[in-house]
């Protein structure tokens, strides 16, 4: 058996105005929950607990039935079964408010005796939730829930209660379970209703609520359909709702009671942004001692350890629970709210990356050969598009998955070359562009400091805008294109121009068109095709196809461009 509180949905800082309530004095929330379970005066659907005066109020109503408002010191717990408007199994636990049959006939109240004299009444079955005229299943009917109808000719009929959608999450390789670990950031299930039963808005839609959590921009967050997700590290999955008056709401997906997997134990040194750092450094880089996460003094804050069980908010150790640049903490210095911590880097232990020959530099910005050993973290294409994560099938379905190419290091959305293409590439997050080569140079070229057209990516201190390499974009129909893209818009690899296999094409060869730039297997436009550059493909069943090369930016729309930006020694945040 789990914690009694697992049956409740917790909302901090909320209060509801109810008529039927009972006051108790309890020491904690659990005791208050026990009062609710044992409540005899009414059907307890929720309870409020105030932390300062330890007051417990059991309530007959919940947020679906009463007005809510904020109250900083209160915690509201609502029984989950009363919030669900769907049924699990045969609906024995269904406590929703559907009150008509599948044919649309209003239900008779369970406590009334006309038009039908019921066998099942609230008195005889006090635990069956026979409130009002709501559909219920007090007799374990396989087709339940049902109700007596108000039609004298029809004694009872079944109700059309939707099944609760699969409340499951993926737990890596293992079996699926009906719960979410931690705050549900890894939840990939298909629940698409909020805790109060509202339908979720499609993540890809901007109506009725405009927002920035678009699948295009967050390919790694799996923002599919209108499924509940937690893309921003909130306490649990949520969604924008289809109700114009309710922008968003949490979804009611049960939490697992088992601890997170051992892999989440974390690191004792700094890698990446240090989100997995679980070491014991508790002093900031400027020497301030860290405030304990479970205290609110001297600084009030929302990173309460209980609410974020998987963020490692122990003691006063430096942590990065919110995707900051590196671990940080609130400080005990009342005039310094928070500061970053100086955590030793894991670099020393990370250098032996598998499959990378010793002579290959671990460079972020360049690749050697065809870049099959490139292991950097660049994830931007030549035209500035963001890469799609390799393990994501959105916006593009593909077969270049980490399990099929285990040695290709298909991590995150980093540029890679798993298939022996000419250079690292990736699928893009732009639904209209399947894939593109990445904004990377060959290491040998990169050693020339003034390599033409190359500008470094943005760094923390130096805002420099990445611009496409002009040779990798087309003007007009692309007749002058001399870039190195060698893959068609549908992802097929191009055939070399001087090869006759698999497709024979005597006319378009480097000899017949010496000025058309028919080098290797690069996309070209030797015949002035008005639709752009193309190539013969290596697919025996597809002789030729157009390539998708981004257009070079036009100077007509020069808005928003700045010609000057410099490094600034000033700290970013005062």
């Amino acid at each position: 058996k789990g914690d009694i509180l697992d049956n409740y949905l917790r909302t901090d800082g909320a209060w509801i105005l109810t008529r039927n309530k009972q006051f108790y004095q309890t020491n904690n929330e659990k005791e208050c929950a026990e009062k609710c379970e044992a409540e005899r005066n009414f059907n307890c659907r929720a309870f409020l607990f105030t932390r300062k005066v330890l007051q417990c109020l059991t309530l007959a109503e919940n947020t679906k039935m009463a007005v809510t408002f904020t109250s900083a010191d209160a915690v509201l717990y609502e029984k989950k079964i009363y919030l669900l408007q769907c049924k699990k199994g045969i609906g024995m636990d269904y406590r929703g408010t559907e009150a008509k049959t599948q044919k649309g006939i209003p239900c008779q109240k369970w406590a009334e005796r006309t038009p039908h004299n019921p066998n099942y009444t609230p008195e005889k079955h006090p635990n069956a939730g026979l409130d009002e005229n709501y559909c219920r299943n007090p007799d374990e009917d396989e087709n339940g829930p049902w109700c007596y109808t108000t039609d004298p000719a029809t004694r009872f009929d079944y109700c059309n209660i939707p099944e609760c959608e699969g409340q499951v999450m993926y737990t890596g390789e293992g079996p699926t379970v009906e719960c979410v670990q931690c705050n549900g950031e890894d939840y990939h299930g298909e629940v698409s209703r909020t805790q109060s039963g509202l339908e979720c808005q499609l993540w890809d839609a901007q109506e009725p609520h405009m927002h920035g959590f678009t699948p295009k921009h967050f390919p790694e967050k799996d923002l599919k359909m209108n499924y509940c997700r937690n893309p921003d590290g909130d306490v649990r999955p949520w969604c924008f709702t289809t109700s114009p008056t309710k922008r968003w709401e949490y979804c009611d997906i049960p939490s697992c009671t088992t601890p997170p997997p051992a892999s989440a134990l974390g690191s004792q040194c700094l890698s990446g942004k240090g989100e997995d750092y679980r070491g014991r450094i508790a002093i900031t880089e400027l020497g301030n001692v860290c405030q304990h996460w479970n205290t609110q003094f001297p600084h009030r804050h929302g990173w309460i350890p209980d609410r974020y069980p998987c963020k490692g908010l122990e003691e006063n150790y430096c942590r990065n629970p919110d995707g900051e640049k590196r671990p940080w903490c609130y400080t005990i210095n009342s005039s310094v709210r928070w500061e970053y911590c100086a955590i030793p880097s894991c670099d020393e232990t990370e250098q032996g990356i598998a499959d990378v020959p010793a002579q290959v530099p671990l460079s972020e910005e360049c690749y050697q050969g065809k870049g099959q050993n490139y292991r950097g973290t660049t994830s931007i294409t030549v035209s500035g598009k963001k890469c799609q994560a390799w393990n994501s099938m959105f916006p593009h379905r593909h077969e270049k998955t980490p399990d099929r190419f285990p040695n290709a290091d298909l991590r995150e959305n980093y540029c890679r070359n798993p298939d022996g293409d000419n250079s690292p590439w990736c699928f893009t997050t732009d639904p209209s562009v399947i894939w593109e080569y990445c904004n990377l140079k060959k290491c040998d070229d990169y050693t020339h400091e003034h390599a033409p057209n190359y500008r470094p990516a943005r760094t923390a201190q130096n805002v420099v805008l990445a611009t496409p390499l002009t040779s990798d974009c087309i003007n007009g129909n692309g007749k002058d294109y001399r870039g190195t893209v060698a893959r068609t818009g549908r992802g097929r690899i191009c055939q070399e121009w001087n090869s006759q296999k698999p497709h024979s094409h005597k006319y378009f060869t480097p000899v017949t068109h010496p000025r058309a730039g028919l080098d290797k297997n690069y996309c070209r436009n030797p015949d002035g095709d008005i639709n752009g550059v193309w190539c013969f493909t290596t697919d025996p069943e597809k002789k030729w196809e157009y390539c998708e090369i981004p257009r070079c930016s036009s100077s007509e729309h020069d808005c928003g461009k700045v010609s000057m930006r410099s490094e600034r020694p000033c700290a970013q945040y005062s």
Binding site: Q206, F213, F218, W303, Y330, V562, M564, Y573, S574
Partner: protein, 226 residues
Amino acid sequence: MCDASPGSWPWHVSLRKSTNVHHCAGTLIHPQWVLTAAQCLQESTEPSSYRVFLGIQNLNSAEPSLQIQSVQKVLKEPNGADIALLKLNSPVTITDHVKPVCLPETNRMVERNAVCFLTAWGKTRGTDIDNRLKDVEFPVLENRICNRPEFLNGSVKLNEFCGGFTFGSIDNCEAEVGGPLVCQDKDRFVQYGVTSWGLDCTQPSKPVFVRIPSFVSWIKNAMLLH
């Protein structure tokens, strides 16, 4: 906030009243149009009451790049949003120091992890204005965060959004009314917000911005009609 590099925010303009004293910020969105907050025009909707100073880094210096424009028309958003358009008497000369910012697509809000900047000549807590244009990288927050009880407690409307940090505070409040929140989109900057309210220096700074994607249609139609 840091002093901005000269010319790094060439759309940021100074709106002044007839006294030539800096009154509000605004942005150049077209060679002949400036976007600002409607509250900056409360005292008068008479175009001749205002002048626009463009291409300056320092409010009180006569920099070579300075261009001054009179206002031909004042158009406030008809439904009461805190946003307004000023039509300049004539198109400005586009230079490296005077250049329009891009507008976003209609109803398309900035992606959540975009790099955005707040620029302002505003006051720093406890000090007088120091006259130099400043900037700070500033995250856009989702309204559900802004509207939490500990932040702006439900007062941010659908056509607004707030920015700032969910922990810590910025010990200044440089945001100033009418000024922009711009976000980087590849090699351009796009304006997503007009600074509106929430600038109380005694509180952790959570400026609230008018959500421009909601008003792009109005802006474009107004420019077309006028």
